[in-house]
Symmetry: D2
Subunit: 292 residues, 4 copies
């Protein structure tokens, strides 16, 4: 039985369930009864789906309260309310696998944020469809690297290897950090809800190939990037975060790509942060993001 | 005894109290007991002041539940928790008095938002230190206008007249829509917490006179505006909202003033909206703003 | 012969021509020779179309220099360089016709900016497909109002009346201030380059009807608006200006519409300003915008 | 005599001089005479100082035109017009020395942009007041590192060593990438116009120590960063670039510091880019920035 140490008593609970009266009262009562002090909470009632969503941060302040008991109490409530939920310690660091292709700006940015302690993740692997020498200028700090080329006609095989890596490494989140391969429907389904992609475009603006060139040809005055959960349609998953930057007629496609790099890396980093802080809940083809 | 009609059953409750365990549990329990369904809630625990802040939106779904009973129950809890609070119907439209000087862009913008039903306020008066003919191009839609010039050496008298107007009209909020008079400490104190000012500068950058000329002289690349609650120090009240716009070396002071108008009116309108939707709670010299 | 008065000696020249060596040298020489002092100039060489674009502001500082002579000199150069150009006094106020449907926020905003002298235009008419009583709360300040309903099967006739109004009034710019009628190809062609539309969406994101509801359904995190020149494809004209605002899952379609109003009016106002300050030059399906 | 090769014929010229009639005509004539094709130009007439500023990009398209002759012609004009100027090839990569203290996010970001070829600089040294082991996780790619501790009472000596390094390495630009030492007036004067600092605050908001804590205490809703040229007053040099990010009451000082890192690195990178692309000209205590 795990006894809560004075330094590891914070939890985060996210949940969703059919909307009905008394959910908050029930949850706050049982949390009170197990000695929890709620420090932050946010909720959202989605009228169109008639579902209730909540994120609660709390500290167990009662001496001797066991985690097993806490989990049991919450499991009981979840069954009563037909509630799906996730419960983690606030100190929890999810295992993360990063997939990358040639462009490394998102990868380098994530590694930096991890190295200085900004992003509380545990990187368990980096996988690429390009060989390691492409990344010779990047310090992987001992994170295992996997070269997984996509041989002609062997895409299914390569994807199976990725999924095997995810399974073996225990990765709870897969980040597509400018991984330029279209995932198969099977692969996307297997990673559904635990895989974040950065789309180098302001969706739903420019789908498909070379979005910055599309933006240039169209003469838009703002370009953007979109981070979203992966679903079977690579460009249509629930959006987590987006941002834009101003451009002008004088910006060449290369300028757009350069400005795009900055937006992409910051949008992806924010989306990953929201996910690991359990601020996101998928709601059909949308994402609820409980930002502070 | 007011019986809640089917169309007027929504309430907003904001509160603050010393932080302690069980506040959320207590509040959600008593709200459940009076037949309330919480539809939105946000909270904040301020570690530095050890105070707890919350905003709850709820619907009374129980047939026959009286408002008097609801208010009694909440008053009891408030006493137990040393809690200060405000409770209003969601349909509530506060009475608002607008003070203005020569520049009318904020006034015109507020009136427009009110006229099209965007801003649920009840304007009970417009007061100015300039005569009504200055505003001859503006349609006041029957809102009473008061010309309150500041005669030399008679500022106290003029302020007394404003406070009298506020009292007689029942105004619950006073908006300084580019009202270019420095309030006396007494006046500011009398309006504390119920008066919003728009400062035509990005605080704490440029206080004092002619901030856009100061910004021009300093060569800044962004200008901004700040909406804040009025306290005795006119430029130092708790900030509600701020925004900025990009400028360049080629912008003249007149360009800055023009761009500033757009920021000022939108920042002020957002601050007023946050206030009337009861999203704001003052916390010493800061404002907690529960945005969605 | 018009002699340039001391107060009306500023000019703006915009031009485009096939790119070649010596254009700037030629232009600045002939401007020097007619006693002009260049106070601002910007240029752009479009590599893909191999065309040269320029905007020059200058003051005629020579006593007695006639405008006819200035125009003659520039016409000669234009012929030599196969140049298309526009030359106006800086004090010039173009005649503008505004078309509107039910939503009046863009109209009211333009009128306000005109009234306080921010937007140097000369409004010669307001036309709507709704009767005047819809706008009874708006002061038109004597600008002629034209009710031009679109009778079933008589769209061509209505458009002919609009074009007639444009012709009779001498309007040099037509602003579609949320005018919710699809223009026919003929009408769009007739107004090409002299008509600005505000599209209540961040193009190329959500075309077609009800873009804010589309944005809501898609779960995007930013909404925007686009001002563009009208061409035969209503949503595909050369973009002049765009902007966005952040939204969250908690924003309803109504919230999006509300936030959209603010973006729409400011994006449209900026686009109109760029046009009347002659900062825009159409370049195929794009717009060059010489901002300061 | 350097003959211009087909691939290295682009130049950038920036200049400032007392304003007078005919400057543009003179410059474009002599550039035409030496076989130059102007591809981009921007100018600014500062009314308050009565000075003229210009940035011209041009290609030498004449076969056999020597650079020495080009420089001679420009030097002659400069003397006639009392003009100060800089002339560089567009392919020019300035030598840059980077100074850093404990926080490495700006340093790492600059090195990344340099490594992928985004920032055309030639880093000739990294100097720090902390020993190299502090930066053991950063790959310096062979750039010489200099540990220059500030011994008590020996600040002048340390600064002399920095200036010596700058001199020996031929560094044309010194970047203070979160270098947390106050420069002496002598040092600042020695580096004037060739040293860019990133101030971790939105100037003129929060000067002095711990600006993010100051921002937190003041309850502002936006934080920002400022890049500026170094002058004797460390926080008051001519501003090159600024940006902000939105914060809320729920952001702790640590959150502000985290968000601040992102703004600081991007603002500094943009300022360095503007400088090395010769888009900046100092104008007293302001900076003219010719952005595209």
């Amino acid at each position: 039985m795990t006894m809560l140490s004075p330094t590891a008593r914070g939890y985060i609970l996210t949940l969703s369930c059919p909307d009905r009266s008394g959910i908050v009262a029930t949850l706050s009562r049982i949390l009170f009864e197990v000695g929890a002090n709620i420090t932050e909470s946010q909720q959202y009632n989605d009228v169109s789906s008639d579902r209730f969503f909540m994120r609660i941060m709390f500290d167990i302040v009662r001496e001797g309260q066991s985690e097993a008991d806490l989990r049991g109490v919450i499991a009981d409530v979840a069954e009563n309310l037909s509630m799906s939920y996730r419960l983690n310690r606030q100190s929890y660091r999810p295992k993360v696998m990063i997939l990358v292709s040639k462009f490394d700006h998102c990868l380098v940015d994530l590694l930096y944020r991890w190295r200085i302690g900004e992003l509380p993740i545990d990187p368990v692997g980096i996988a690429a469809n390009h060989p390691e020498e492409i990344y010779r200028d990047i310090d992987f700090y001992g994170i295992p690297f996997h070269y997984l080329p996509v041989a002609k006609g062997a895409k299914a095989e390569q994807e199976a290897r990725i999924l095997a890596l995810v399974g073996e490494s225990g990765a709870e989140l897969v980040v597509l950090a400018r991984y330029m391969q279209i995932l198969s429907n099977e692969m996307a389904a297997a990673l559904s809800g635990k895989c974040i992609n950065i789309h180098h475009s302001f969706l739903p603006g420019f789908k498909g190939a070379r979005p910055y060139h599309q933006a240039y040809d169209r003469g838009v005055k703002l370009i953007g990037a979109t981070a979203h959960y992966v679903t079977s349609d690579l460009d249509e998953g629930p959006i987590i975060e987006q941002d834009v930057e101003r451009i002008s007629h004088a910006d060449s496609p290369e300028d757009l790509i350069r400005k795009g790099r900055d937006i992409e890396r910051s949008v992806l980093a924010r989306a990953v942060r929201y996910h690991i802080e359990m601020r996101t809940v998928m709601n059909g083809n949308k994402t609820i993001v409980f930002t502070s």
